[in-house]
Symmetry: D2
Subunit: 311 residues, 4 copies
């Protein structure tokens, strides 16, 4: 394992290099709250398994984690329903865009994996089961606070409200799954919880802290308590690797070589198993909807630290 | 790293367990040469990076490696044309069956990755470039013999001839790509080489030997010579992980946690980076076209040895 | 043109033959109100351009016209917005099921024609434009009463309420189009009007009366007043011919040779231009969702009367 | 029925108008033989059921009929195998481009209708059955000469050879169907006959003569002999209406209101049942691959003569 000083140096140098790059991708514009984010922001934070933290840039500034929340809802739903979850969602890469509905028609309403929008809505429906939306959302937030060991994490209600007003494509996905019986709660309930957990705001530091259990065989390195079994941690990492970047998942595996999950807010959570939990934030996105500089920074970090899981 | 005795024990026990299982999947029947293989056969061979070999069952019996050859042709083509290869084939999971043509229409004839049939045909076309089929095939065979350090490996001509007679779906894929200019050689030439390299016959031992460079940062552990750069070895492993089992790639990553490539002959080559190269053979296939018991054996081995790349 | 007595005879004989056939298709079951309809019901009514009426069987019994209402909403929307309508909906056969969403993704939310569900929802949205749902619905109902010259026609509110409760697939289509800006009103408004106009209940006699303007160059034969121009009547007939039976439109044209529109309530409105307006009702559906015996009855009638538009 | 003088006047005026229009579409460029055709050419010929001929422009100049040949091969194949033909090809509009392969994958290799490329290849395979390509081709040519009452019609061998050299997309379709058992002859045989019958060269006059049996209840108006039964003539017309212009079939029905079949050579054969057989030629194509001015000329002619089948 690399020594902490090297890591701190790598993080600082990569952040500095990213700050100056002119190619920054395009900030998501579908809701005003995301569109107004300054594309110049860049944050990077790494927590190794000893708990040492290396951070640079805007690593303390909260941003909308968006689809990164799907890692936490998947973990929570597996905790609640175990392998029964897999009757409602698959675990294969989708081969299409994050919000595609074509696959649902060809596979009778069962989404391909928990990290495309449809799959994450189905996972949210599992969490919701038998509860009021407020309770389900509380449970998700409590879980995120627990794994990140930070009670200050909140939901950005303006973002959630804006998504709810404009999220017609997600409403299409939800209604479509409902028509096949894949959702069991009222569509509005499930969508409400979904839009709100996507609107959780976290900083790179908070996010890197929250990912530690995945880098650490399922245990909280702080308390030593088990969040999930080692096998489940491995399996969540596997799904992040194959499905975590929509139709750019192959590219991320090829270039970065780490399990990761991106969000349209420009964040990426990446896991170097046994070594570190990493969060990066750069609001500009590439064509596949993943953070452009975020991916490049992780590629540089992974190579420099020798963290690729592929050898 | 596990000690060699433990590995030998694990290999023997898993092979014994597999030999007795009643669920064996269905042997591929599309050509007589594959259909007549006894579904009771089972072989397993592991070569660790020290060169120690653990083998059990029918590990010395040659079988048709079929799509596993795509790992070797990809490696060879990258050596010949470098990153220019990626203008002719993508590196994203396909989200559809191994022989699907739908994706080609939606993406103007460029196959999604080098491990689905269309992609492997495009890779073969790159290798063929400017040569006669016989020469290209010779080059492929020489490369396979070189990485496996075994001059006795040959092509099963009956299998190749049979595929050539019946491979209409592959002919459709090739002609379709040709219509978009993705293939540059005569379709018959490219298909001829493709059918022949899929008909290479290897034993588990030969295959495990051939995979060592991928487990060993691109170098031959025997000679220490570089086959590919460490980065390229990692990247080939990454593509194997995300795309190596067709529409069962997510499942293989989830259960086994190793880069791997399957063939309809029932073989799988799996790589535990820095640890071992593994070959398994069981002719019965699952619904996605991958060896049923082969995958189960690898899942058991990976768990027992703690080899998952996901933590 | 055949004389009226022959027509009456043909209608009576065909209805008698249909009443006895054992093959009746399957009644739509997705809402209880449709599922409980007796599959033995059969009605047939023909109004020729002189106003002579030939009826047999349950021709006076109202049934849920369902998608046949799309003929009337298309006519109304064309009257309101003219050719601007065609920026929101195409006029090509869909090549897929009545409720497919795949095509919408491939064509940026613009439905292929006004007679598949998505297209009819878009047409409803055009009618709704700037009005309250109640007003729009009133306008549709007034139009249907006007063309059928029958003030007694009403909406079956139990059917409408049931569809609204269970219409998730239509909600998916509507939200999907909304996400592309193809719908301009609140999704709930548009869907509400859509579900209600599909729930209009009419008898074969009322429906045949309502279709006269399409058989009569756009004019009401009763009053001589123009409903639409002759060209528009021809064009609506053309769309009925190519798109009126979902993915069974080619079959209907091939066998019956008349423009027609079916509904899952088991009704079909068919037009013999210059000759007659025809309504048939048999609740059992074929695999494409069209009335099984309805189509057969029309095939027999068309052949016997020499009404095919194809020679 | 309009009097002959009026028809002659209409034909002359429409041809004159078309000659001067600047919007002419784009000439097909995929083979040199088509690309070099002068886009200024325009021919129009109408034969009414009395045998009277009205012609204007380049009506005597032979052009490559391309897909219009599919009308004759369908007729011939139905004569040879009757309704058994329909186990190998459907009769529904395709909802996609003329050379799409996507539908074949979704429907197990059975093409949607005899007028898209895949369907016409399947029909050619039926004609070929048990014969040498040369014989099958001779039979097709004899049939075309018979229905057009013109022994001078020939195949343009340069066009056929060029298509054979470059027809990779059609080779993909053929191999794909072969893989599902939909084709029964060697792929090369079937494709050879297909490319050659598409290369038949006819003038507008010859083509209009050849279509007379479809306008005349299946009989040759010259000899009174039956070519097909009245019902079969109607049914072929129905398929032309719903499927004759690829993904522009709805548009053609909407605007022209006549059964018709287009070819990428710029020709269209249209049938006014009971009234006339019409051929038009203008080499420039629209986005759907149909003659741009050909369609406009037919729309004008149909409206002026009151020939729409829709009222």
């Amino acid at each position: 394992m690399p020594s902490a000083p090297n890591l701190q140096e790598a993080v600082a140098e990569i952040a500095a290099e990213m700050r100056d790059r002119p190619d920054r991708g395009d900030v998501a514009t579908y809701i005003p709250e995301l569109a107004k984010i300054d594309p110049a922001r860049f944050g990077l934070c790494v927590v190794d398994t000893t708990g040492a933290v290396a951070a640079a840039g805007d690593a303390e500034e909260p941003f909308s984690i968006q689809s990164i929340s799907k890692v936490f809802t998947l973990t929570l739903a597996l905790g609640m329903s175990g392998d029964r979850l897999w009757s409602r969602v698959g675990r294969e890469p989708s081969g299409s865009a994050f919000n595609s509905i074509v696959q649902l028609e060809h596979e009778r309403g069962v989404p391909r994996n928990p990290f495309i929008n449809a799959g994450a809505i189905a996972v949210t429906d599992v969490i919701l089961s038998g509860h009021q939306p407020r309770e389900a959302l509380g449970e998700i937030l409590r879980f995120v606070r627990f794994v990140s060991d930070d009670e200050s994490i909140t939901i950005d209600k303006a973002v959630a409200a804006s998504e709810q007003r404009t999220g017609f494509r997600n409403a299409a996905l939800a209604n479509y799954m409902k028509s096949f019986g894949v959702l069991q709660n009222p569509v509005d309930y499930t969508l409400g919880v979904y839009f709100h957990h996507c609107a959780i705001a976290m900083s790179c530091r908070q996010l890197a802290m929250a990912g530690r259990f995945l880098a650490h065989e399922g245990r909280s390195p702080t308390t030593g308590l088990s969040v999930v079994s080692p096998q489940r941690a491995r399996r969540i990492n596997a799904i992040m690797l194959t499905c975590g970047h929509y139709d750019g998942s192959g590219e991320f595996a090829y270039r970065v070589g780490l399990p990761g999950k991106s969000g349209v807010g420009g964040g990426i959570l990446a896991i170097a198993p046994g070594k570190a939990s990493i969060a990066v934030w750069s609001p500009g996105l590439d064509a596949a909807g993943n953070s452009h500089l975020g991916r490049i920074a992780l590629e540089k970090l992974s190579r420099r630290m020798g963290w690729s899981i592929f050898g």
